[in-house]
């Protein structure tokens, strides 16, 4: 217990650390990291509030702006962007009935109904309050679990790591929507794409066709921005349905929820936080399933389930706290084991590697300021959302009224410039165009691009550990099964995969995802 406090203290020290800067000859202490967190939360909300653009697309688009910062600042800013994007998604769900991302689909059910009854203010406020409460709890949870999990992770050998990554990918498949087989195929495609470039051991170039620009491999930003950012824009242009957005036009009056609202939501927030925290830790879990599960739970425990879907405030409070708790605890597998449990965390891995940080257990021991600074900044990021975003709701509403034909050129050009600025390479920009086409094709054929990105990020790590494990075992592939930890992890993975493929479970799983 005492350790947690002192560690969090170290973290807050990093977050609040002032940098002395000269302004017109006067030296002023500026808490730079707070500033980065603030900017991140603001920009994240700004992009995340746009309909059809979820956290993954937002982070993919905004990655380049963090590259010029010091590593700690960059990661803090990215965390801010993440929370901002998620909160932005909730705002659109409530006001426009258009979820910006899958994790806020559930919020539309009751949130938009509340807005139509003139209670958009309380809905937005309870979403922010619920998220903040969940954030407080899960920050402590992350801090508490960080140390013990890291010490376990340090005992892992290559075989265990490989098995763990397989398990993570399987979780991602099982908990994702759509066909299991297609999701596995997407992971394999991602793994294959990550093989392009130089071989880790021999340095020999693989599948590059003597193109010098490919010798370092395909840039992660290029894939993410093309397949998620640009393909989303193209899909929105195709749909044209967003012209008929049903923005709640009544004035936002009375932002604060009543005492009764708070009393009713309290239980929902507690339950949502618990469900979310647990599901977030699972590799592949993440916020989508947490939000759905929390909503279903609320419906089950409610005295009068009929109110749900008609503007019940618990129907907003529970999924919003759950998805925030989950998005926070999903940092645990990333920070302790170095394994991204979901696409957003995969983007974080990409960002960390660009800053020269290899995610994994050694981060906590070697760069404690980074580790604890990031955890503390989660809490600060949540606080930012409450104090900045609630007063700014009016501004976001106005942004939603800007026609899409003006928005997308702006997004596109920012992305292009940001993308170009990373390496000053026109080749990267052109390649992003190719991945945009690929993303468009994937969407049209009902392939989920998220597992592909996860495979793409995990590819090099998986190959490295696979090769090392095989070398240590002198070429004996049974090593993965005979070592107790890796064996049980793989058995669990196989069990889950079989379970998910069973028709009975499959229909149940589809029901969970389509419940409306």
């Amino acid at each position: 217990m005492f350790d947690i406090i002192s560690n969090l203290g170290l973290g807050f020290g990093v977050v609040f650390q002032p940098v002395w800067m000269d302004f017109l000859g006067v030296s002023l202490p500026i808490p730079m990291n707070i500033l980065f967190c603030l900017i991140g939360a603001l920009v994240g909300t700004l992009i995340g509030v746009l309909p059809g653009i979820g956290p993954v697309a937002t982070i993919a688009m905004l990655l380049p702006i963090t590259f010029g910062l010091p590593p700690v600042g960059a990661l803090i800013m990215l965390a801010g962007i993440y929370y901002g994007a998620q909160y932005g998604g909730s705002t659109t769900s409530i006001l426009v009935n258009l979820p910006g991302e899958s994790s806020s689909v559930v919020t539309t059910l009751d949130g938009h109904q509340m807005a139509r009854q003139g209670r958009a203010g309380p809905a937005l406020a309870i979403a922010a309050i619920g998220s903040f409460a969940a954030g407080c709890v899960s920050t402590v949870l992350v801090a508490a679990l960080g140390v013990p999990l890291t010490s376990i992770a340090l005992k892992f050998g290559p075989a265990e790591y490989f098995a763990l990554m397989v398990l993570g990918l399987v979780f991602a498949v099982v908990l994702a929507r759509g066909s299991v087989i297609k999701a596995v195929a997407m992971i394999l495609l991602g793994l294959l794409m990550s093989m392009v470039g130089s071989d880790i051991e021999t340095g020999q170039s693989r599948m590059t066709f003597n193109v010098p620009e490919l010798s370092d491999g395909i840039s992660f930003v290029v894939v993410a921005m093309g397949v998620f950012g640009f393909a989303e824009i193209i899909r929105n242009l195709d749909d044209q349905s967003e012209e008929k957005r049903a923005i709640v036009s009544s004035k936002l009056t009375g932002l604060m929820p009543t005492l009764h609202d708070l009393k009713v939501s309290f239980g929902a927030i507690v339950r949502g936080t618990t469900v979310g925290s647990v599901l977030g830790i699972l590799p592949g879990g993440g916020s989508v399933i947490a939000a759905f599960a929390a909503y279903t739970l609320e419906k089950k425990v409610a005295k009068d389930p009929h109110r749900f879907g008609r503007g019940a405030i618990e129907g907003v409070a529970a999924p919003e706290s759950a998805n925030n708790a989950a998005s926070q605890t999903s940092f645990i597998p990333l920070l302790t084991l170095g394994i991204p449990p979901n696409p957003v965390m995969a983007l974080m891995v990409g960002a960390m590697t660009i800053h020269g940080i290899v995610p994994g257990p050694q981060v906590m021991t070697k760069q404690p300021d980074l580790f604890w600074g990031m955890i503390s900044s989660m809490w600060v990021g949540n606080l930012m959302l409450v104090i900045i975003n609630l007063p700014l709701v009016g501004l976001w509403v106005r942004l939603l009224r800007v026609p899409y034909r003006m928005l997308f050129p702006a997004i596109l050009i920012f992305c292009n410039i940001g993308n170009y600025s990373i390496n000053n390479a026109p080749f990267d920009v052109a390649m992003t165009a190719a991945f945009a086409v690929m993303g468009y094709w994937l969407i049209k054929h009902d392939f989920e691009p998220a597992p592909m990105l996860l495979g793409f990020v995990l590819g090099p790590l998986m190959e490295e550990n696979l090769r090392r494990a095989m070398l240590i075992a002198r070429g004996d592939p049974t090593t993965f099964v005979t070592r107790p930890i890796s064996g049980s992890l793989l058995a669990l993975a196989v069990f889950l995969l079989v379970l998910a493929a069973l028709p009975m479970i499959r229909t149940k799983r589809d029901v969970v995802f389509t419940e409306g």
């Binding site: 702006i65 010029g68 899958s102 929507r177 759509g178 066909s179 087989i181 297609k182 195929a185 394999l188 495609l189 793994l191 294959l192 093989m195 071989d199 051991e201 021999t202 020999q204 693989r206 599948m207 066709f209 640009f230 824009i233 193209i234 242009l237 195709d238 899409y404 034909r405 003006m406 050129p409 596109l412 050009i413 920012f414 292009n416 410039i417 170009y420 600025s421 026109p426 920009v429 052109a430 992003t432 165009a433 190719a434 945009a436 086409v437 468009y440 049209k444 054929h445 009902d446 392939f447 989920e448 190959e463 696979l466 090769r467 095989m470 070398l471 002198r474 070429g475 004996d476 389509t514």
Partner: protein, 216 residues
Amino acid sequence: MSEGARSSGAGRRDGSFIGSPRDFWGGLVLVAVAFFALYASYDLPGMRGFAFGPGTAPRMFAVLLACFGLIVMATGAFTKGPDIDPGTFRGTLLGAALVAIFVLVSKFTEPVFVSLGYRNAETIAAAVVVFLVTLALARGASRGLLFVVASILIFAGTIRTLGLILASFISIVVCAHATHEVRWRETVIWAAALTAFCTFLFPYALNLPFPLWPRY
């Protein structure tokens, strides 16, 4: 994403043995990609004793991808599913063609421009060709895709030589044509405003080294 809503309309074309064309053709393309990867990695050394060679992992994943692609194809043939959206094939093909045109033109005109004494002009030539092709082809459902792809490529082709201001302005104007409701005056004013904002934001506020104007 509205996958759930989309998969509800199970339209089946008469006389076709394929129940779910999205899955069938999607799986086929994955198999093709897997074979392409096998071809691309065929010259890489494989296992050396009990150690993996550079080619082992790519070949392993490619074979697995081919297997899963085949399964996707098979399920696509025997289960019912929604039809492919009209224009998907055309859009993907033309989009890929634009990227290919950009790469090929800039590669093959480079020696010509170098011998004429214009360095880095080949990407501008490629951007111009891409623009003309887009104007000729962009119609219907693939309009959005083509203009977006073209505007990205045009930015890539012009940023190095024409500088940030011209490159941004041109690519904003091009990508504004991705919707059906183009308003010229609004587009130009908006493009100018965005360009001004980018010029301030990136080189000044974020301190990124960009040339603003063309270099001679």
